[in-house]
């Protein structure tokens, strides 16, 4: 048996293995990365297969996650955007779906003249995330009415709403409903972009009805209210969010904001976005 002197082993230690694995993955990510010392043509040919598998698996995952975005921008543009995304943001999570995280931002960079592409990608990602969100039971409007019937001013001010997990809202400049419907079947052609543009931004509100992710276009102020509530704001703070940055709003503005908060709350209850009170 050969005695190994300390620190001079030819065998890879655990730290060496970690280093080799990093180099292996680097060679998968980058065609130009040097192959490990001692590798010959056989290993280079094998590495080419792993490199191809990596790219095709991630490209397929993005195509599956962003079916409508792909249809909208066209096959070649989507392929280039996907490649750019996986090169600039190689995945780190254990689920391959995470490879699609942030693709809306990649689209915002690459399709700067067409912001609807990023909005569509955001919507597809959010819908996909909602599909596997925890199951919850929506609070019925009648149950809310019963609970709120005896609220005093202070209880209303301090009321916190529990929103459905992973429900989301964002301001969009294009009619996502129109885009979504037009891209509903693989046989459809890309819709006319000018027809989808909105005169002013609206909110796209995304949630799940039972097991089915869904969305609706609503007034722009839903987004500010939603983000406030999702961030833990109480009802008074939600009204404050609707007032914006004005440090000394006129009474009629406060009254309007309070009315809008009531209308928004009513809509969320009707749609089933609220799953509890004062969590």
């Amino acid at each position: 048996m050969t005695k190994r002197s300390e620190g001079t082993s030819a065998k890879p230690s655990r730290a060496d293995l970690a280093q080799r694995q990093q180099a292996f993955l680097q060679a998968i990510h980058d065609d130009r990365a040097p192959l490990p010392p001692g590798w010959g043509n056989r290993q280079a040919a094998g590495m080419a297969v792993y490199r191809g598998n990596y790219r095709s698996a991630l490209m397929a995952a993005l195509a599956d996650l962003y079916e409508r975005t792909a249809l909208y921008v066209g096959e070649e543009a989507f392929r280039r955007a996907s490649m750019h995304h996986i090169i600039t943001q190689p995945p780190s999570g254990w689920t391959i779906d995470e490879a699609g995280a942030g693709f809306d931002k990649t689209c915002a960079q690459l399709f700067g003249d067409n912001p609807e592409v990023s909005e569509l990608a955001w919507l597809e990602w959010t819908m996909r995330e909602l599909a596997s969100a925890p199951d919850t039971l929506a609070m019925a409007p009648a149950d809310f009415a019963e609970a709120g019937a005896h609220f005093g001013d202070e209880e209303w001010a301090n009321l916190r709403l529990a929103l459905q997990p992973r429900a989301a809202a964002r301001l969009v400049g294009h009619d996502c409903e129109k885009l979504w419907r037009a891209l509903d079947t693989a046989s459809s052609n890309a819709p006319d972009r000018s027809h989808a543009r909105l005169a002013s931004p609206q909110s796209c509100l995304v949630w799940r009805e039972g097991e089915r992710p869904t969305f609706v276009m609503v007034e722009a102020d839903h987004t500010a209210a939603f983000h406030a509530v999702a961030g833990g704001a109480n009802y008074a703070e939600m009204i404050g969010a609707l007032l914006g940055d004005d440090p000394d709003p006129a009474p009629q503005l406060v009254e309007h904001a309070a009315m809008r908060a009531g209308a928004i709350l009513g809509r969320w209850l009707q749609e089933g976005l609220i799953v509890g009170l004062n969590p």
Binding site: L17, A18, Q21, A45, G46, M47, T95, S132, R212
Partner: protein, 289 residues
């Protein structure tokens, strides 16, 4: 330190992967299989339709949770979040087996989402056994690990893959998921004898067999690629017949199809072929203990 855990009794059924395309078929309850296998990571989620369907299918069939992201070969250790989510799934569906691959998929920074090859060294074996130990202890049960298909070997290799798998099973107490197609693919890619591979394994530790299709070599590419996108090839059926004839106990056999997935009937025909081969070797279906 390995915690003593229950042995995995043999199960001699025939099954298919539960894939989205076939949800309605399985929910109808008319698919003649003894078990289904799911990709664990697809169900390591918090809620929604997919999980509900799995629970419905599980009500009438044993389910095998087959993972692709445990990365037991990672020198940096296991992903604790992955392991915790797998434990939740394990508790939710009480799977017949929990399995993954002899491979690595990630470093501490990035994930390849591919089953990357291990150098077959004693140090790599230490890493693999430590990681299997952690996984089995966390799950409180023994796992099955699948022999991978591979497209390169390492100059520093110190043993054959079957020697590596044998020592891995002996040291960690894990069982083997024998992918016959992978043996064929790797044997052709690396020039070893598939019969030697089978003969060198601790066959008493095999609890499941995978059968799948591959992309043959071409004039431009002399590497065979494991693709799961077509029917099982004849040489793989021949190797399967040899394997079941050598196994000392019945095993769960399944057809693995992940791309270009055909109608369920096509896969059931392939499964019948496996049944006939196994029946010829004296292995019949065996109910779980």
């Amino acid at each position: 330190m390995t915690t003593p855990r229950e042995l995995i009794p043999p199960f001699g059924g025939f099954g298919l992967g539960l894939r989205r395309t076939h949800y309605d078929d399985f929910l109808s309850g008319h698919v003649a299989v003894d078990f289904v296998e799911v990709i664990s990571e697809n169900y390591m989620i918090e809620g929604g339709r997919q999980l509900r369907i799995l629970e419905q299918v599980r009500a009438s069939l044993p389910v095998i949770a087959h993972g692709v992201s445990m990365s037991i070969g990672s020198a940096g250790g296991l992903d604790r979040d992955h392991l915790a989510r797998l434990k939740i799934l394990e508790q939710r569906i009480d799977p017949l087996f929990v399995s993954d691959h002899l491979s690595w998929t990630r470093t501490s920074a990035h994930n390849s989402h591919d089953l990357l090859p291990m150098p077959l060294t004693r140090d790599a074996l230490d890493v693999v056994c430590d990681n299997i130990d952690e996984a089995q202890n966390a799950l409180g049960r023994a796992m099955l690990f699948e022999n991978p298909s591979s497209y390169l070997t390492f100059p520093e290799d110190e043993m054959t893959e079957w020697e590596f798998l044998s020592q891995m099973g002996q040291r960690s107490g894990c069982y083997l998921l024998l992918d016959v197609n992978n043996i064929y693919v790797s044997s052709r890619n690396h020039g070893f004898c598939a019969d030697d591979y089978l003969a060198g394994l601790p066959l008493d530790r095999v609890r499941q067999i995978h059968l799948a299709g591959h992309d043959p070599a071409t004039p431009e590419r002399d590497i065979i690629i494991d693709t799961h996108d077509r029917a099982v090839a004849d040489p793989v059926w021949e190797l399967y017949a040899k394997a079941v004839a050598m196994l000392p106990q019945p095993v769960a056999t399944m057809i693995e199809r992940d791309e270009d997935i055909p109608a369920i009937g096509v896969l059931l025909d392939e499964l019948d072929h496996a049944r006939n081969i196994a029946g010829g070797a004296g292995h019949k279906a065996l109910e779980p203990a």
